[in-house]
């Protein structure tokens, strides 16, 4: 039972992560949507220099992004009940979630370094902020692997081990296939495929939110169901 309680605690870490992502990446820096990729270097650097709100936001994001691990550890524990021996897909999901978290956290540190040294050249602000958005939104490969491994695990489970509903498997597969356009933001400075465009940003944001929330709610449901089953088993003894 304490294992399941720990799983529940891990799963609930999704909430502080989501709040910190919203505040740190969108609200404080006012990046909803992100700034124009086609801005000239001086204008782009000015967005960061002497902007304490952005600095605080990125610091929050850097600290809280590893909290995203908890939900995936909890989900992996539930996926293993479906997989049986080997745990290949749940391990693949966990490892790719680590890569996802690194894609959010790692770009924060060069940005913090630049804001720590505002006297640096404008071009440095351009290259590091460009790299940051490429990593925040364009790291589609690890997202694909994570989503695909969850989807495959759920959809290939035998019926008597169906811990997660099949519709969640299809949601994960849809999210995985929808991650393809995310790579295009590295080729466009304007238009719908740029990092502030319809596909570069809004489809990614909405798709990611639906995907992550669905997985979170279903993981909570699976853990609580298992808790109820264990309590019932104890009672009947």
């Amino acid at each position: 039972m304490s294992t399941l309680r720990n799983q529940l605690i891990c799963a609930y870490s999704f909430i502080p992560y989501s709040i910190s992502l919203a505040i740190g990446l969108f609200v404080l820096p006012r990046w909803l949507p992100p700034f124009d990729p086609a801005l000239d270097p001086a204008a782009m650097a000015a967005l960061f220099r002497e902007d304490m709100a952005t600095r605080i936001g990125i610091a929050i994001l850097a600290f809280f992004s590893p909290f995203f691990l908890g939900i995936w550890v909890a989900m992996a524990a539930q996926l293993r009940r479906m997989e049986g021996e080997g745990h290949l897909l749940s391990n693949l999901m966990l490892l790719s979630s680590v890569l996802q978290i690194m894609a959010i956290q790692l770009p924060c540190f060069p940005l913090m370094a630049l804001m720590f040294r505002p006297e640096l050249d404008d071009q440095l602000f351009v290259i590091f902020s460009t790299t940051a958005w490429f990593m925040f939104l364009g790291a589609a490969g690890q997202a694909f692997i994570q989503m695909f491994s969850i989807g495959l695990c759920i959809l290939t489970a035998v019926p008597d081990r169906q811990v997660f509903p099949r519709w969640l498997g299809y949601v994960n597969m849809l999210a995985a296939l929808s991650s393809f356009p995310g790579v295009l933001l590295m080729f466009f400075k304007t238009g719908p495929f740029a990092w502030n465009g319809l596909f570069g940003f809004w489809v990614v944001l909405v798709g990611f939110s639906i995907w992550a929330t669905s997985n979170f709610l279903c993981t909570l449901s699976a853990i609580k169901t298992q808790m109820r089953e264990q309590r019932a088993a104890l009672v009947t003894r």
């Binding site: 299809y170 949601v171 296939l177 466009f188 238009g191």
Partner: protein
């Protein structure tokens, strides 16, 4: 499985709308690029995909009549159509990217490669689904529900086929 199929169609509908909006804003520029596209290659690809659709549907029909071996043959033929499409599409890309094509000088290029490239990736997925279906049917595992994967792979192929028909129309014809 309808979440997956309808979600994909919604994504492609958004892509089509984005392209058509951009084309309406710069019709002359897009018309220049349109001249560089080979409608004949597009037609061949359309025939290949529609044939693959027919083969996949026939495979599902054979499976429902418990003609396992014939179903496998039809799925194999559909998978070959998928490979053929990928080969033709890759050759077409090489043709356009290899020289100073009119296509690359127009605003059409970015949308053409983005939309058909995303479609091509979905074709790869559709072909992998067909192969997985063939393997599953051959395994004949009584613990698994053998209806879902063949239906899913066939429906997914039809979806990718419908998307291609729209792409063919908006890029090569209209």
């Amino acid at each position: 499985m309808w979440i997956l199929l309808l979600g994909e169609l919604t994504l492609f509908a958004l892509l089509f709308w984005t392209y058509l909006s951009a084309r309406a804003a710069a019709p002359a520029d897009f018309a220049i690029g349109r001249q560089a596209l080979h409608a004949g290659i597009g037609l061949i690809n359309t025939i290949v995909l529609v044939s693959g659709s027919w083969l996949a549907a026939s495979a599902v029909a054979e499976l429902e009549c418990s003609h396992r071996d014939r179903a496998i043959q039809f799925f194999q033929a559909a998978a070959v159509c998928g490979l053929l499409f990928m080969a033709i599409k890759s050759s077409e890309y090489y043709l356009y990217l290899g020289g100073s094509s009119l296509l690359l000088q127009s605003g059409l290029a970015t949308y053409y490669f983005a939309l058909t490239g995303i479609h091509l990736l979905h074709m790869v997925v559709a072909s992998i689904l067909l192969v997985a279906t063939i393997v599953t049917i051959r395994q004949d595992d009584p613990a698994k529900d053998k209806r879902i994967l063949p239906e899913l792979s066939s429906l997914y192929w039809h979806m990718v086929d419908v998307v291609w028909l729209v792409l063919y129309f908006i890029f090569y014809i209209c």
